[in-house]
């Protein structure tokens, strides 16, 4: 069997799931075996995603590596997978992050390590499934099934208020998703197919599009999350174990963005145009208002959670600004730039937020506190750590040279073509982001050591250094040379914009 004939997308989904089940069966008694095994599985998955990247043809806009077979024949539901330039970077991100999460859990998780590994591996498989599913029902199954491991992760290994947080997380996202299901069922009654690409082409009346858009909006806006349906995120982030926060921030939020690109925009382009202003305003509120909210947080994880929401505001802004750009300038080149910037922002935020949460995790493992006031002068006892965290804090603030800058810059640049004031408001994040991140950094890392516990902190060990080093490399690489990401998605985004700008009113 040659490499080309491998069902590589299925492998990406099922390797971690089967590995996870094995880890569960092996049980807590074989702790070391389970850890090494899970690590191996995550690395293998990542290697396959790299193979996928290498074989991907960036000049082709449509779906590649298509796998299709019957699942539920009676209703024409297929096990239909494929990947395009939008999904590919997200798959890479997922597989990469899983390695970090498993490494981060190594000595930290004491309770039921095999359950923990199992939950994360299965979660990885399901998340990959979300990004490659080309059948709406298959997508929905992955999308919802994903909630189960996350629910357990927060609930079993989370902080003191974990039950509240995890039930809120589950019900909130479930609430959004079920309306998406109704929308899929309605679309099926129109298109007689659950094939996502077929749904892209089905003509719909404007009224129908509006309802469908709202249903999708509920699902994706909750997930990404947009203001004002973001309130589950700070709770979930704060209570989740470090690994859970990392996955939540790095990947789960991106699914909301992915959903907008895969469903909302292409299936309901006219409704997207109709709701364009609303989306832009909500994005700007997220960017500015949530930025201020982040400023006053006393809990580091909460602060990063709010900063995530604020950064996601850029993503939704970039996705919905194209209509205004085309309306204002008449050309779609700015629109493409905005959308690519938003995509870049998703990827980069995946790395940076993961890194920030891991940094907090490193401190939390030592001090068992997330409160900023319990720290101060960490640099004195943990100089290497402080250096890494410095880099990530700068990236979070959007410093040029880090990946955080690229996406934000492109989105702001493109929104100038739509309106000066949109760009101006969005650009406030450069100040706010720097303010809340660096102020937190200053209070935690610099200053005099006032607490004995801080003075006794041990610097990061080899494993932690390795994780942070990997992330630092990625953040800097994509900050200086983001071309690999743009290359794979450019053609797909171009085609998407073209599709979205065409009305499909019945």
């Amino acid at each position: 069997m040659t490499l080309n004939s491998l069902p590589i997308l299925s492998i990406l989904i099922w390797t971690p799931i089967i590995g996870g089940i094995w880890a569960l069966i092996a049980g807590d008694r074989q702790e070391q075996t389970v850890k090494y095994f899970s690590f191996a599985v995550s690395v293998i998955t990542f290697i396959f995603s790299v193979i996928l990247y290498c074989q991907f043809d960036p000049s082709y806009a449509g779906m590649q590596f298509i796998e299709e077979s019957d699942w539920i024949k009676a209703f024409d539901i297929k096990y239909h997978l494929g990947v395009d330039g939008i999904a590919l970077p997200l798959i890479m991100l997922t597989s990469f992050t899983t390695i970090l999460v498993i490494l981060a859990a190594w000595d930290v998780i004491e309770k039921h390590i095999s359950y923990y590994m199992c939950a994360f591996l299965i979660l990885t498989g399901l998340m990959n499934g979300v990004f490659v599913a080309l059948d709406a029902i298959l997508f929905y199954v992955y999308w919802e099934a994903m909630l189960i491991p996350m629910f357990l992760i927060i609930g079993i290994w989370g902080g003191p208020n974990r039950v509240y947080a995890t039930i809120k997380f589950f019900l909130y996202t479930f609430l959004g998703s079920v309306f998406m299901l109704v929308a899929f069922l309605y679309l099926y009654s129109q298109a007689n197919s659950f094939n996502i690409e077929a749904l892209h082409d089905v003509p719909l009346t404007l009224t129908a599009q509006k309802y469908i858009f709202v249903a999708f909006f509920l699902a994706f806006a909750v997930k990404i999350p947009m203001w004002p349906v973001h309130t589950w995120l700070p709770d979930a982030h704060v209570e989740a174990p470090t690994g859970g926060s990392v996955i939540l921030a790095a990947i789960m939020l991106k699914m909301g963005g992915y959903g907008f690109l895969r469903f909302s925009l292409p299936i309901t382009p006219d409704a997207s145009l109709f709701f364009d202003d609303m989306m832009i305003v909500l994005s700007l509120i997220a960017i500015v208002y949530i930025g201020f909210v982040a400023l006053v947080q006393e809990d580091m994880k909460k602060l990063i959670a709010y900063s995530s929401i604020s950064h996601m505001g850029f993503v939704t802004l970039g996705f919905f600004i194209p209509f205004s750009i085309v309306a204002a300038s008449g050309s779609s080149s700015g629109a493409i730039m905005g959308m690519e910037g938003a995509m870049m922002q998703m990827i980069s935020h995946g790395f940076i937020s993961a890194a920030m949460f891991l940094c907090v995790g490193v401190m939390y493992d030592r001090m068992h506190s997330r409160m900023i006031k319990d720290y101060g002068g960490v640099v004195n006892s943990m100089p290497y750590f402080a250096a890494f965290m410095m880099l990530f804090a700068m990236a979070n603030a959007g410093l040029p040279g880090t990946s955080g800058f690229v996406g934000e810059f492109l989105v702001i640049l493109s929104s100038f073509e739509a309106s000066f004031w949109i760009a101006f408001t969005a650009a406030m994040t450069l100040i706010l982001g720097a303010a809340y991140t660096l102020w937190m950094y200053k209070r935690v890392v610099f200053g005099d050591v006032t607490k004995e516990s801080v003075a006794e902190l041990k610097d990061i060990n080899g494993r932690e250094a390795f994780i942070l080093f990997l992330l630092a490399v990625v953040v800097l690489t994509f900050g200086i040379w983001p071309a690999p990401i743009f290359e794979v998605m450019h053609v797909t985004v171009e085609q998407l914009i073209e599709h979205v700008l065409q009305s499909k009113i019945l």
């Binding site: 199954v141 609430l175 069922l185 009654s189």
Partner: protein, 476 residues
């Protein structure tokens, strides 16, 4: 042999075997009633084999049009026998543990199954009624069997009185329909209404009473008052029985009466069922949140599920009915597992029917906590479990028939419902156990319950077989 007798062969065999079991039990001195138990199980398997062996290719009508054997009835009967087999297996364990093992339990159970099978095959209002009464009377007696219990006789009394009222309503409805169409035969009724609809209002009037009867048997709001009390008061083994196979029979009754008989009045019963469905989903899901008793919580969850079941009927299309059939079969499987878990956790005559009994189950028994997790997520309708597909199926048919708003209301209630299912998972996985006593129960109980849980997951991953079966059942 007479052709009519062949068509009704499974029922006739079951009746004979049930009498045989009664005799066997009368002469058996075994305190464990093992012989009775195994004859009962063998009878069910024999009937199951007969049902499958004589699987009808097309509808065969017998006894002057009052009895029909078609693929829907055959599939439902097969599931009734299979489900009752498992129910008896769980029950035997439970009754042994609670030292209340009586041979009559199994005899009554077999008669109840006979009643269900007749309901599934009933093609005239009279045979519907006969089957229903046979089923109900057996169930009343089964609920009351624990004479010394404080709650069981009360539950039985409530069940009996309310059941009698519902039967009276049903009979009244039947008499109205008979008076207007001059027939009890469901096909003839449908024909005559099609030809002559001048008495429309009176027909609807009669139909309402029929629907009340059906709603009562299914436990739909606002005719649900008996459900929580009976579920909680009855011995768990009986609750388990009531909540599984008889639901299939009640579904069959709804299909026979509303679809085979009153299809010309579809737009009228659609709107009535709509009210019942929304009320049931609301009552069931909201009140279930406040429960601390597991059996009572599951009772309210049943009410909510019945609301969902109605959605498929409301769709008013053949595939919508298939959706409902799929729903009720899945529900029976899930309910069987859930009550099976309660039986599994109970020991030495102690009932583990409070929510707190599930605390920390993941520490006590990781495997059965996982089984319960599958059942609960399935009931909440989360993929990839079976319960998701059953909701998906009825919602899809509902949307296809243009009831998008109703579908939106339904999913909204299912979110409210998700809360109390999640709470069980929270108790099992996030809380510490009160005691670490190991779960002790027989190997067969463990095995069957495990298979039950796995089946819910496996059917969720590959629902196509069961779906096609339900589609075929109603296509003919």
């Amino acid at each position: 042999m007479n052709a009519d007798l062949i068509i009704a062969l499974p029922e006739i065999t079951l009746l004979t075997l049930a009498c045989l079991v009664l005799l066997v039990d009368a002469f058996s001195k075994d305190p464990l009633h093992l012989l009775t138990y195994w004859t009962t199980q063998a009878s069910l398997l024999a009937v199951l084999t007969l049902v499958l062996y004589y699987f009808p290719d097309n509808a065969q009508i017998a006894f002057n049009g009052s009895f029909v054997s078609d693929s829907m009835s055959a599939i439902l009967k097969a599931f009734m026998c299979g489900i009752t087999f498992v129910v008896f297996l769980y029950s035997h364990e439970y009754l042994k543990e609670h030292k209340s093992l009586k041979g009559e339990y199994f005899v009554l159970g077999l008669f109840a199954v006979l009643g269900m099978m007749i309901m599934a095959s009933a093609y005239s209002l009279l045979s519907v009624y006969l089957g229903l009464e046979l089923l109900s009377l057996s169930l009343y007696a089964m609920v009351a069997m624990q004479r010394d219990s404080k709650t069981a006789p009360e539950a039985a009394m409530k069940y009996f009185v309310l059941g009698a009222i519902a039967s009276g309503m049903l009979l009244y409805g039947i008499s109205m329909i008979y008076g207007l169409t001059g027939s009890l035969d469901l096909l003839t009724i449908a024909e005559r209404i099609n030809v002559d609809d001048t008495n429309h209002m009176y027909l609807v009037y009669g139909m309402i009473f029929l629907i009340i009867g059906i709603a009562f048997k299914l436990g739909a709001a606002p005719f649900h008052m008996w459900v929580p009390d009976v579920y909680q008061g009855a011995p768990t083994s009986v609750t388990l029985f009531i909540s599984t196979a008889p639901k299939l029979a009640a579904f069959a009754m709804a299909m026979r009466v509303l679809v085979d008989g009153l299809m010309p009045l579809v737009s009228d019963w659609q709107s009535i069922l709509m009210i019942l469905a929304v009320l049931s989903m609301a009552t069931g899901n909201i009140i279930a949140i406040a429960q601390t008793n597991m059996k009572r919580m599951l009772a309210y969850s049943t009410i909510a599920h019945v609301g969902f079941l109605f959605l498929g009927l409301i769709a008013g299309t053949t595939s919508g009915f298939s959706g409902s059939m799929f729903y009720i079969i899945s529900y029976a499987l899930m309910s069987m597992g859930a009550f099976g878990m309660i039986i599994l956790l109970g020991r030495n005559g102690f009932e583990a029917d409070m929510l707190d009994d599930f605390k920390g189950l993941s520490e006590r028994s990781p495997w059965f906590a996982f089984v319960m997790l599958c059942i609960m997520f399935s009931m909440a309708g989360v993929p990839p479990f079976l319960g998701f597909w059953s909701k998906w199926f009825v919602l899809k048919e509902l949307v296809a028939s243009g009831f998008v708003e109703l579908a939106a209301i339904a999913v909204l209630f299912s979110i409210i419902g998700a809360y109390y299912y999640l709470r069980i998972i929270k108790l099992m996985y996030f809380d510490k156990p009160d005691s670490m006593t190991a779960i002790k129960s027989s190997k067969q109980m463990r095995f069957v319950l495990s298979v039950n849980g796995i089946a819910i997951l496996a059917l969720g991953l590959a629902p196509n077989v069961l779906m096609s079966l339900c589609l075929v059942a109603l296509a003919g």
